[in-house]
Structure formats: C-alpha cells, structure tokens
Homo-oligomer: 320 residues x 2
C-alpha cells in the first residue's frame, strides 16, 4: 500500500458507478462537509452515491445532508467503491467496517498524520488543514462544477477544521480555495450561522455552572475548573456540551496552562489540559497515565473529584 | 471633494516626507492594524511617520505597536500629510482634530458606508471588509515589500473585522489577500492568540453573572439577559467586557431575537438587540428612540431596569 495521487483516485472513481462514502463516527464539520461535497459532486457526474453513517448527525450539521446520508447498510447491492473520508482506521467506522470491505475497491482520503495506508487507494496529506480541501482538489480534477452547494459544504469543512482560519494548520492553499469558493456564490455567513448559531441553551447553562468553579493557580499562570455529574442533571446538558471550556480558560490573559476536570458516570475524573505558548501538558497528562500533544493533552484519574483537583493543581504549579 | 483612487493617494504619499496617521478612538483590530501596517510600510520607504493616538490601546492589540504610536501632538513640527484610517469624521478623533487639520494635505482611507469625503484625498470603499484590505492594496501600489510584520498587522485588521472570515462582509478579495500574506510568512495562529487569548478574567466573571439572568421569551424565539451596575462592582469588570454577550444569546438554537440590557451609571438602561435571520430589530429600537440595522440595533430607555426588561420583552414578543 502506498500514497496515491488524487489524479489516480479520480481515474478510479470515473470508471465506477456505485460508490459509498464513509465519514467517521462523531461526525464533525470536516467529516460530513467533505462527505456531502463528494457525494454531490459524484452524483452530478451521474454516479449512484450515498453517505453511509452509523450515528446521529449533530444538529448544527444537519443542513449539510441534502438527501445524501443513509443508515441502510444494504442501500447498494454491489458497491464498487467504498471511500472513507477524514479517517483511515476501521475503528472510526466500526459498525460499517464490514460493508466498507464489501466493495471491490477501497479508497481513503484523509489529512490526519496518524492515518496509515489501509485501502487499495489512499490519499493522505497531513500538511492540509482539512479533508474538505482534498475533496475540493479531487472534484476539480474530476471536472465537477463547484456549485454553491458543494462550495458551502467545502467551506463548512475548512472553517470548522481550521478554527475559522485561526489554527496553525491554515495555509495559503486554504485561503486560495476559499477565494475560489466565492466564485461559486457561497453564502459563508449563512453557513456560519448554521454551524455556530445553533447552540442548545443547555450548553450556555452548563458552561455557566462550570465557569463559576474557575480558580487561578500558580499566580494566575494556571486556570482550572470542574464539572460534576450533578451539574449535568441540573442543566439537562450532555457532557460534550462543555467542549470549548478549556480553550476559554486558556484564553485568559496570563494563563499558560488551562485544565478542565469532568466527573465521569463511573466516578472517575477526566482531565483536559491545554497550554498556550510554552508549557508541556502532555508531560502532566502522562504523569497520570494519559497523553497527547504538548499543547493539548488529557488523562483519566481514578479518584474523587476533590483529590483529582488537588493532584492536577499540584502538577500544574510544578510545571509553571 | 470626491473619492480618489489608491494610485492617486500613493502618488501624494510618495511626494511627502512627514506623515501622521490617525486611527479612531476605541481602537479595534482594524483601526490599529491598518495604522501599524501603513506606518511600517511608510517608514520602510524612508518616511518620517507616526501613529497619533489619544486613548489607550486595548491590551490585546498592544503587540501591534512596535514603536509607532505617540500621544505627543507636537511629535512633528510640520506634518505634511494627516491620514485618518478606518474612520472619516473628526468626532472619531476629537482631541486630535486640530492636529489633523494642521497638515498641508489630509487623506482618508476607510471602508465605512457612512463616511463622507471630508479630506483633500479620500478612498472610501464600503464593499471592502476591512480598512486593512485597502491599506494592503495601497502598500502594494506604493511598492512596499509586504514583510511578516506588515502581513501580520493586515491579518489582525482583516480577521477582527470579518469575525474571523464569518461575516457577510468577507469577500473573495479578503481571502486572496490572506493567501498572499502567507507568502510573507505570517504566523496567523500566533497573532490569533494575541488577539483572542488575552482576555481579562473579569470578562469571564461578568459574562457568567450576566448569562445567569438569561430568560427565553416568545416560546424560545427570544433570549434576553441583563447587567446591573452592582455586577460590575462585584466582578471588577468594565462595561465593555460584556461585548459579545448578545451575539452569544443569538447563537442559541431557535432564537431569532437576542436582547441584552445594561444598567448605566446614570440609572438609564441601554439595550443591544440582534436578530438572526428575519426579524427587524431596528424597528424595536426605534420604538424607544434608538436605531441601527435590521440585524443589529440599540436604544437607551429612561426607566428602571425592571421596567426596561418588561418593555423590551413585550416588543420582542410582538415582533416574533
């Protein structure tokens, strides 16, 4: 197995008719945006194409599915090509892995550095900010007209995966593609409202509860807060609705390390750690059996929330 | 007075040596980013150039000032050119208006639709997302090399004024410029951290207090919350640190109109109103003697906070 070119993949796709697309579970804007853009493009070329999913589409991404997704693993009797997008491991589409392998040819299009070449054809480019960029390039090679709908799906993919063009993965090419998408008449602001102004009120309520536990440590260089299971019950929020809290802590002036501790249903405590410029939070996480990157890491502690808070605060202070 | 071309303005600047730049009061990323990029570019061409300011630079924009700003109105004995950037009315630089007029030639570079041609030379283009875009174009015309520092100042200007490329003012040209800035080696992520991860902790505290007053009205189509003067005292926050609260309310799923009421030191109540897709909040604001745009408006009510809450809720419900 090796890395192919997009031109080789375009050729393979051009020759076949029945194509299934596999975004990863816990779909994000890049996974579903890429899948939707690819599905629309392939259908425009006359292909029989569906996006096969196994879990729910998040509410703020529902607009991307214009009749493309299905949970019916038998939607196609003889899929000729299976394409996984924004992922390259079967554990990212576990309940669909068998169907994935059923196709004559498997293809992977992804931008994750950890992805290995598991398919017959692979295009993995970790220098790119989003799989949506790769799908855009592929569709252009295949001669698909980038219309408003495809353009908006690609925009959704790129803007979510680049943190609205703020993350360091954003490149010259990201903006070049964006400039081209405007020629397709995209309504970037309309899509942005779909993506970001579709927040459940429970998310504000739980964030408010969590942020009211905010404490500074190490003379203001560390910020920490926690969530209890009771807070979820009180607000009706789901655990993932606290996503973003740790980034908000990090955005406090003077804060280098931010930590967010979540009580789990099993009583253990999950810690998310972020650093801003120099601190190594992977080292803190690994001290508790976790891991990650220098700027973003996590671990799970088998103790009470109070104990976990004390332990993490101590480690934060040590490393600051 | 008329609108000139950037080429005409480039020619005027090329001919003179002593140049003062005037960003507006309450500097934002576009005002100071544009001023800094222009100042660096003109100095690179050998000009004697300063940015004259009259109020404090917000903490998150201090990084843009690499020895360019001064409050000394006599820094130049005989300024030949005064340029106001991102504004075109003297009330936007009231304490510097006299110095502005002292120059032989006045120039205005702005993107606000309300700006009239008050200077000897004006370039006002309201189709552009940020004054930073105009400064970029001007510097290119003048033959300035867009280096990392100029590129980062232009990025700061564009990303802040476009809401990180999400607002409807963002255009193909915004992204084309961004693509070109990457050639200058900009560290967009580093600048983004300066701009957005420099938040005073008081901002989190006041936001938390304000959001704890959140109420839904009109069956969830309206969201409203308030701030009292006491909340400012308790948290140590400044009034402008609640900026962004009304946008956060609007981002709740199902909410069409968001309202945020602020008790003023004089006892009156200032209301900020936003709508998401169809409601006309300018109509609500004008019912109370205020005004604004369809999607963003405001008014000041001469009554108690309780009364103001009741009045605004009633009007919101009526229009939803």
């Amino acid at each position: 197995m090796k890395n192919n070119t997009l031109a080789e993949i375009a050729k393979v796709l051009a020759e076949k008719q029945n194509i299934l697309i596999f975004p990863h579970i816990n779909m994000d804007g890049d996974a579903l945006g890429s899948a939707a853009a690819l599905c629309k493009g392939l259908r425009d070329l006359g292909k029989n194409c569906f996006i096969l999913i196994e879990d729910d589409i998040p509410g703020n991404l529902l607009f991307l599915d214009k009749g493309y997704t299905t949970r019916d693993q038998d939607i196609m009797e003889n899929p000729e090509i299976s394409i996984c997008v924004d992922c390259g491991e079967e554990k990212r589409f576990p309940k669909r892995a068998e169907t994935f392998r059923k196709a004559d040819i498997t293809v992977c299009i992804d931008h994750h550095a950890t992805t290995r070449y598991i398919c017959d054809y692979n295009y993995v480019d970790s220098s790119r900010a989003a799989t949506g960029e790769l799908i855009y390039d592929l569709l252009c090679i295949m001669g698909v007209t980038i219309d408003k709908e495809i353009g908006e799906a690609v925009f959704a993919a790129i803007t979510t995966d680049t943190g609205n063009f703020q993350y360091s993965n954003t490149s010259k090419r990201s903006h070049e593609i964006m400039a081209e998408l405007y020629d397709a008449g995209i309504d970037a602001n309309g899509i942005s409202i779909e993506l970001y102004e579709n927040m459940r009120i429970e998310k504000i309520l739980i964030k408010n509860k969590v942020l009211s536990t905010l404490e500074l440590v190490a003379g203001g260089k560390g910020a920490i807060c926690y969530m209890t299971e009771a807070m979820l019950t009180e607000t009706g929020a789901t655990g993932d609705e606290t996503d973003g809290v740790v980034q908000e802590l990090r955005s406090i002036s003077g804060v280098e390390i931010a930590a967010f501790l979540k009580e789990q249903p099993d009583g253990r405590v999950k810690a998310s750690l972020r650093s801003k410029r120099y601190a190594d939070v992977a080292a803190i996480a690994s001290a508790f059996g976790g891991g990650g990157h220098i700027r973003a890491a996590g671990c799970t502690l088998d103790c009470s929330l109070d104990e976990a808070m004390a332990l993490i605060k101590e480690k934060m202070t040590e490393s600051l």
